[in-house]
């Protein structure tokens, strides 16, 4: 056959709707992992203001924490970390070959628990920001 039809990247990406549990778990795990790496840098940047003086650190933290965006981002960070840890444990079990039949259920459980913890954390993270 002289010619064939290469469906190309666009059609490949169009297939995200056909993803199943394990594929989503993989996408989310990579995403959350790299968000955590990204956070590590901002974390170090903020912490290192303490090298200038204790006051500089205090004012930086106080000004950051007075912003609503930062409070919301913190809820996001917690969710990302919780999902990464829960799914990370799931992946460790998968690597050990334990409970492979429940791999989809354990993914949904990770999602649900992450959601519950994120919701439960909202009062703590948003406390005082509107005051």
């Amino acid at each position: 056959m002289s010619q064939s039809y290469n469906r190309g990247l666009i059609e490949d990406f169009g297939r995200w709707r056909e993803f199943s549990a394990g594929m989503w778990a993989w996408v989310f795990h990579k995403f959350t992992g790299w968000v955590l790496v990204g956070y590590l840098f901002t974390h170090i940047a903020v912490l290192s203001t303490a090298l200038q003086s204790p006051d500089a650190y205090t004012t930086t933290i106080q000004s950051l924490e007075s912003l609503l965006v930062v409070r919301i981002l913190e809820v996001g960070l917690l969710s990302v970390a919780v999902f990464h840890i829960l799914n990370g444990l799931r992946l460790l079990f998968v690597d050990l070959g334990v409970g492979l039949e429940a791999q989809d259920k354990s993914f949904y459980a990770s999602l649900l628990l992450t959601g519950a913890i994120a919701v439960a954390s909202v009062p703590t993270f948003l406390a005082g920001v509107f005051g």
Partner: protein
């Protein structure tokens, strides 16, 4: 599984083979051909009418592409309305559409009983073996496409060469230098060992797993689930002996071997033979680790 006989229509136009010797003979053959064509036309019209009159029809949306014909080079979807019988599979429906509406509709099939592995396609967003998929399990319209992540040759036919190359790469045949003493001695396998490799022997080389795998799509050199499963079948076969096992693990440990697997489970979900592919790949990963980390 397909249990229906395809509606076979006797092909009378064997005129091409027999040399027409006389004019009378030629006339007879021409008449015969005419009659056959007439019959064909009538049957097609009848069947199409029956299909329309029939309450129960299934709506197929079928991917079409033909690089060799002007006007068919642009990929498109064709609609077919196929009369439904109880027990009808996607393959039965495709065959009906081809035999009744459009003889140029091209797809691979042979055994119609999930043995030959030639009719894996992308049906309603999932890799399925068409002869093993009941229409009644699907929502309409039934969208039938060639396997994703492979080049389309024509309509529903994809190029399987790369898949076969990966299968061959793991040396998919029994090898051993652990021969029994007597010349006529058999190479016996224990029942337990047979049980261990049982599921992995069921592969029919349909390529559904490879097509479903995101990693294989992004890394053309990745052996893929079917090839690794094939390697599992022999690596775990005790009759091959320690030397062979070592050699097999070396193939599997390579950069594009078992470690590419990211446990997305898509292969395990689509395999029409229910082979626990991810489980086998994970077990080989652990074998590879045990093989290389020897603290004890």
């Amino acid at each position: 599984m397909s249990t229906q006989l395809p509606d076979q229509t006797e092909d009378e136009s064997s005129a091409g083979e027999a040399e027409p010797t006389s004019a009378a003979q030629e006339r007879r053959m021409a008449k015969k051909r005419e009659r056959a064509a007439e019959r064909d036309e009538k049957r097609q019209a009848e069947e199409a009418e029956a299909a329309l009159a029939d309450e129960e029809t299934y709506h197929l949306k079928v991917f079409r592409y033909d690089p060799e014909i002007e006007g068919k080079k642009e990929p498109r979807f064709d609609d077919f309305h196929v009369p439904y019988h109880k027990g009808m599979t996607v393959l039965d429906a495709l065959m009906y559409a081809r035999d009744t509406y459009d003889s140029s509709l091209t797809f691979r099939h042979s055994c119609r009983q999930a043995v030959c592995g030639s009719d894996a396609m992308f049906v309603n967003g999932r890799q399925r073996l068409c002869c093993k998929t009941q229409l009644s399990d699907l929502e309409e319209p039934v969208r039938i496409e060639p396997l994703p992540h492979a080049e389309v040759v024509k309509d529903l036919v994809v190029d399987m060469e790369h898949f076969y190359d990966q299968m061959e790469a793991v040396e998919p045949y029994f090898q051993t230098n652990d021969l029994p003493d007597g010349e006529l001695e058999e190479q016996r396998q224990s029942r337990e060992n047979r049980e261990k490799v049982k599921m992995s022997t069921r592969c029919i080389w349909c390529g559904a797993c490879m097509s479903s795998c995101n990693i294989a799509a992004g890394d053309n050199e990745y052996l893929g689930p079917a090839a690794i499963n094939k390697a599992y079948r022999f690596t775990m076969d005790e009759r091959e002996g320690e030397d062979m096992k070592q050699q097999r693990l070396e193939i599997l440990e390579q950069e594009h071997g078992v470690w590419r697997c990211q446990t997305q489970f898509s292969c395990t979900e689509v395999c029409p033979k229910d082979i626990p592919l991810t489980e086998h790949i994970q077990e080989l990963k652990r074998e590879a680790v045990k093989n290389n980390l020897k603290f004890w």
